[in-house]
């Protein structure tokens, strides 16, 4: 997966879960401050990301993923790891 593919997939997830238009999900946006997404929606996004990308994002790491780019980087780094 390229960063662009992950970003596009993440945009779809965020739109579906939080109702934020996918094209607003750009790399430098903060989930909490820019996209108004709370901690429970972040859990839903993490679960949906796991289904879509096959990468598990545990709660203790999720709290450190503040921007869209952070999630893209996390998925890139962990993609292909044995689950």
């Amino acid at each position: 997966m390229t960063d662009q593919e992950i970003l596009a997939g993440l945009g779809e997830i965020v739109e579906e879960i939080a109702g934020v238009p996918a094209d607003e999900v750009t790399p430098n946006k903060s989930f909490v401050d820019d996209l108004d997404i709370d901690s429970l929606s972040m859990v839903e996004i993490a679960v949906a990301a796991q289904d879509k990308f096959g990468v598990e994002i545990p709660d203790d790491q999720l709290k450190d993923l503040t921007t869209v780019q952070d999630v893209v980087n996390f998925v890139t780094k962990n993609a292909g790891d044995p689950a």
Binding site: D38, S39, L40, M42, V43, E44, A46, V47, D59, L62
Partner: protein, 321 residues
């Protein structure tokens, strides 16, 4: 040795619910802890909750709800031979709640026990009551879920004090007539003790604690398959359910479970909005309130799902009386 003969199937005869008079709104909470109506509604979906008075006990609330269910069932106290109270907040540890409740309701010398499976308690109790009727160890069972969570909440902790509340709900379980279909389906139950520290009152001088995100993730990823399995074992299609009544944990959790299960929003019980999270009381309380409002269709299948600390869970399909 020989065995007793039980009923072919069990059914729910009637519901009863009791809520304390004292209403605590989000605005009133926001005056005492750092929170807001908007924050509470968006995170947990609660607008107001009911709290017991200082002298009002779990036993009192259980008696009130149990008495209503018994009256609505058309049975008399003498017909009840087993009383089960699901609670994780009994007034005292000894004696149990159920025996006192039975005596106050005029039920003489029934089997009586408390059952603690936290927020799954009512569905566990309903499963065991149904089994007792089918095995012949009881003819009619009074099943009550009752909680006074307010006495175990730290009212300065804004993460938990916005959620938990008090109340009681009850049902009467009895046999189906010969040849009639069963009215309580097979229970699907289980637990995940490896996560038991995620919701806890760690010792008798501490308060209710939960890891919100972990519980949210667990409930929204593992409960819809349990609910689906309960439908499958009962031979009822999810699309045929007239109502889905999950434990009223958090509106966002139960909306997510309903969505993943494929139950339309209008068939989802949302009693939490005005009742808060009342643990083992929430399912029978929601059922009683829906029945009172005429929101339940008699003779139709409804799905119950309890889940919470333990992490215990249980689900079954019932036929609405």
């Amino acid at each position: 040795m020989r065995l007793t003969e039980g009923a072919q199937g069990s059914r729910i005869l009637a519901f009863g619910g009791y809520q304390p008079a004292n209403v605590l709104t989000n605005e009133a909470l926001a005056a005492t802890v750092d929170t807001s109506d908007e924050w509470i509604r968006s995170r947990v979906g609660i607008e107001s909750r009911r709290l017991a008075g200082p002298d009002e006990t779990v036993t009192d609330m259980a008696v009130a709800a149990g008495g209503k269910a018994l009256a609505a069932s058309g049975l008399s106290a003498a017909d009840i031979d087993l009383v089960i109270v699901a609670t994780c907040t009994p007034e005292v540890m000894i004696p149990n709640t159920a025996a006192s409740v039975a005596t106050r309701l005029g039920i003489t010398a029934p089997g009586a026990y408390d059952l603690n499976a936290a927020c799954a308690g009512f569905c566990y109790a309903l499963g065991t009551a149904s089994d007792a009727v089918r095995a012949g160890s009881a003819r009619n069972v009074l099943v009550i879920g009752a909680e006074k969570l307010s006495q175990w909440v730290d009212w300065t902790d804004r993460a938990t004090c916005i959620i938990f509340a008090d109340g009681a709900g009850a049902v009467v379980v009895g046999p189906v007539a010969d040849g009639d279909p069963p009215g309580i389906g097979p229970v699907v139950w289980g637990s995940a003790g490896d996560m038991a520290d995620k919701i806890a009152i760690p010792n008798r001088r501490s308060y209710m604690y939960q890891e919100g995100q972990a519980v949210f993730r667990w409930a929204t990823t593992t409960m819809h398959p349990i609910a689906a399995q309960a439908c499958e074992r009962a031979g009822v299609a999810v699309s045929d359910l007239s109502a889905f009544v999950p434990h009223q944990a958090n509106l966002r959790i139960i909306e997510a479970i309903a969505r993943k299960l494929g139950v339309p929003r209008e068939r989802l019980a949302d009693d939490i909005v005005h009742s808060g999270n009342t643990s083992s009381a929430s399912v029978p309380l929601a059922l009683a309130r829906m029945a009172e409002r005429g929101d339940l269709k008699s003779g139709s299948p409804a799905l119950l799902l309890g889940f919470g600390a333990g992490m215990c869970y249980a689900a079954q399909v019932i036929t609405v009386p």
